[in-house]
């Protein structure tokens, strides 16, 4: 299996000074939601701006990220993989070492503090694979906030471990039985709850999707990934990386990883989408590669849909990348050429889990394995003096059942 590698030189012009006051990233973003939610979104925009400018809010957030989440996590030199590829030096940003095992908690801690600041008494969230649900349940438990997590019935079946963890943390997991019974429907259901509960409830959206200001807020809270990685790379190697790589589903770990590098025009940025079983509609979740401009879940971005605007079915081995939309900032980065988007298929991601485990002693999540698989291929084409930094967005414990099943092993 070969990786679709770019042959054109990098040339992108994008700015980090987005979105504007209307939530526009270039032409993308904005708000396409029922009127009932508009006031809450305006209020959230104002409150977030105040929080962002408030040093005591930042101090409280930084403190929690340090003592509760375990930040900063390391930038790790993957020595044996680098040696094996015989090209560029490969570094992993270790988001898998965060409390709860993935990058998702960076955002939920921030948004939980916002919830408290706004005086809202209840939190709702959606989850696909369950990582965002666990991270939300964890942050809510830490602050004693009641939490309801919407999760597709199909995902509940596939991710029993995370459902158990959420319930142990005191969250209520509500099964979603409509539509495809996966992440997309969980978002619909959370939005419906919010329409009726908006006065006293905050919706902690888990990715850089949805109406403004969510794509900006989630990106900002996740930007700690890229900020740390940038500083750590400078410290370890004396210079910036040549390429930064992250997987893209809705696009939160990648947005957080890329954003602090957007104005570093010498750094190539590559987002890796889920190639699934192949390029046929319904077989993948490569929204930026195969999708068209459109509207989903309150934002204008790229989306996988049919010619009538009906959202398409998607597939990926990884439940965290299995989403038919993508954050509007990614759409902006794609169209400006600032980030290049490629895709990696199911089987390659699956084999990379085992390969990384055996070579580096790290068990990556299936999501992160998509990014690593691309980076390993890319490293071979680069000089030994080049540096590639990959976001290892989460650990693979949650995937062991699925990996065992697909590789014909018994647990």
């Amino acid at each position: 299996m070969s990786v679709a590698l770019p042959d054109t030189p990098f040339s992108g012009h994008a700015t980090s000074r987005v979105p504007d006051a209307e939530g526009r990233f270039g032409e993308f973003g904005r708000r396409f939601v029922p009127e009932t939610l508009m006031h809450a979104l305006e209020e959230l925009t104002v409150e977030y701006a105040k929080a962002k400018a408030d040093p005591s809010f930042q101090k409280q957030l930084d403190g929690l990220l340090h003592t509760f989440v375990g930040r900063p996590n390391p930038l790790y030199f993957a020595e044996r993989l680098t040696h094996e590829c015989g090209g560029a030096q490969i570094y992993f940003k270790r988001e898998d070492l965060n409390h709860t095992g993935a990058h998702k908690i960076n955002n939920t801690i921030g948004q939980t503090l916002l919830t408290l600041r706004m005086g809202k008494k209840r939190v709702i969230a959606e989850t696909g694979a369950g990582q965002h649900g666990v991270a939300t349940a964890t942050a809510c438990a830490r602050f004693g906030l009641p939490c309801v997590v919407y999760m597709g019935e199909e995902d509940i079946r596939r991710q029993k471990l995370n459902v158990f963890i959420m319930r142990t943390m005191g969250a209520e997991v509500r099964p979603v039985t409509s539509g495809s019974r996966t992440l997309r429907d969980a978002i619909n259901e959370a939005m419906r709850d919010w329409m009726a509960s908006v006065e006293d409830t905050h919706y902690i959206l888990g990715s850089v999707v949805g109406p403004h200001p969510f794509p900006m807020i989630v990106r900002d809270f996740q930007s700690v990934i890229g900020k740390e990685a940038r500083a750590q790379c400078l410290e370890a190697t004396g210079r910036l990386p040549d390429e930064v790589v992250a997987c893209v589903g809705g696009g939160s770990n990648s947005a957080g990883m890329f954003y602090p590098f957007v104005d570093d025009t010498t750094v190539e940025l590559t987002g890796v989408e889920a190639g699934g079983r192949g390029p046929k509609a319904g077989d993948h979740a490569s929204t930026l590669t195969f999708g068209n401009k459109g509207i989903l879940h309150g934002t204008y971005s790229y989306v996988l849909q049919d010619e009538d605007g009906q959202t398409a079915d998607v597939h990926s081995i990884s439940a965290g990348l299995d989403y038919p939309g993508v954050g509007p900032e990614h759409a902006y980065w794609k169209d400006t050429g600032r980030v290049r988007y490629v895709n990696i298929g199911d089987m390659r991601a699956l084999h990379t889990v085992e390969h990384v485990a055996r070579t580096e002693g790290i068990l990556p999540a299936l999501e992160s394995s998509h990014a690593i698989a691309y980076a390993l291929e890319r490293a071979k084409q680069r000089k030994p003096s080049d540096i590639i930094v990959v976001c290892l967005s989460g650990r693979g414990d949650k995937d062991v059942n699925e990996v065992a099943r697909l590789t014909g092993q018994e647990l």
């Binding site: 209307e22 904005r30 708000r31 396409f32 939601v33 029922p34 009127e35 009932t36 939610l37 508009m38 006031h39 809450a40 305006e42 409509s178 539509g179 997309r184 619909n188 939005m191 419906r192 329409m195 009726a196 908006v198 006065e199 068209n292 401009k293 459109g294 509207i295 989903l296 879940h297 309150g298 204008y300 989306v303 849909q305 010619e307 009538d308 605007g309 009906q310 959202t311």
Partner: protein, 253 residues
């Protein structure tokens, strides 16, 4: 007071939709809302969502909806207003959609996920084609926002009775009367109330406060019976017709 029922196009199929529109018109509907099935209708509760899902499961296409409406709109007096997600309009092409809606005989459109802030360009296009763009005002809309929204409103103002999704509710929000009173001072357009309305006594309660009522889920629910047994079509259409007549009478007296 005007009675405005809502149904989803293509549930259980478009020929039945055509018959249903005629039945509603004959039962006294002053205007009929036609929902365009959408895969991700976040403003809708379980009943309308299920209706959309049934229609999409049978692969109802946009083109066919316009064909059906083109023939029905010539045969009935009640104006037809499309209820359609901006996701569908945008994907089809904004200009093309508006032109085709006009050609099919729609009198206007309600675009529930295109809030007033985003609507100015679309409102101008609709005006150019002499189609009404119905704007929604929610119980959560502050008065200064309502003023901005009303700037682009034509036809009537869709007043959302309760914070939440569409669907039958026993009681309407206590602040609804206040909201209607306040809107009355801000616009000369008729005020129609929707979301949660299902019974004649709710309609009576709105007399003197609103100019119209929109009933969706309570009607659409009756179509659920057809999903499993298409042979009931005549009976279900009759039931819907008599239910609609009860509501129309409540509105008109």
């Amino acid at each position: 007071m005007a009675f405005m029922p809502f149904i989803a196009a293509g549930d259980p199929d478009l020929p039945t939709t055509a018959r249903l529109l005629k039945e509603l018109a004959a039962s006294g509907a002053d205007l009929i809302e036609v929902g365009f099935p959408y895969s991700d209708p976040i403003a809708d509760g379980p009943v309308i969502q299920a209706s959309y899902t049934r229609a999409l499961a049978k692969h109802v296409k946009l083109k066919e909806i316009f064909v059906t409406i083109t023939s029905v709109s010539r045969e009935i007096q009640s104006p037809l207003v499309g209820m359609v997600s901006y996701a569908i309009i945008f994907r089809h092409g904004i200009d093309a959609f508006v032109q085709e809606a006009k050609a099919a005989g729609f009198a206007g459109l309600i675009v529930p996920d295109l809030p007033g802030d985003e609507a100015s360009g679309f409102a101008a296009l609709m005006a150019k084609h002499e189609l009404d763009l119905i704007q929604l005002v929610a119980p959560t809309t502050p008065p200064d926002r309502a003023a901005k929204i009303l700037k682009h409103a034509t036809g009537f103002v869709y007043c959302i009775a309760v914070a939440g999704t569409t669907g039958v509710r026993k009681e309407l929000a206590p602040q609804l009367a206040e909201m209607l009173k306040s809107l009355r001072t801000q616009t000369a357009l008729p005020l129609a109330v929707g979301f949660g309305i299902s019974a004649p006594d709710q309609i009576h309660h709105l007399k003197g406060k609103a100019d119209g009522v929109i009933v969706g889920s309570a009607i659409v629910k009756l179509l659920e019976n057809l999903a499993s047994d298409p042979s009931k079509t005549d009976a279900v259409l009759r039931d819907i017709g008599s239910f609609a007549k009860t509501l129309a009478d409540a509105a008109h007296t």
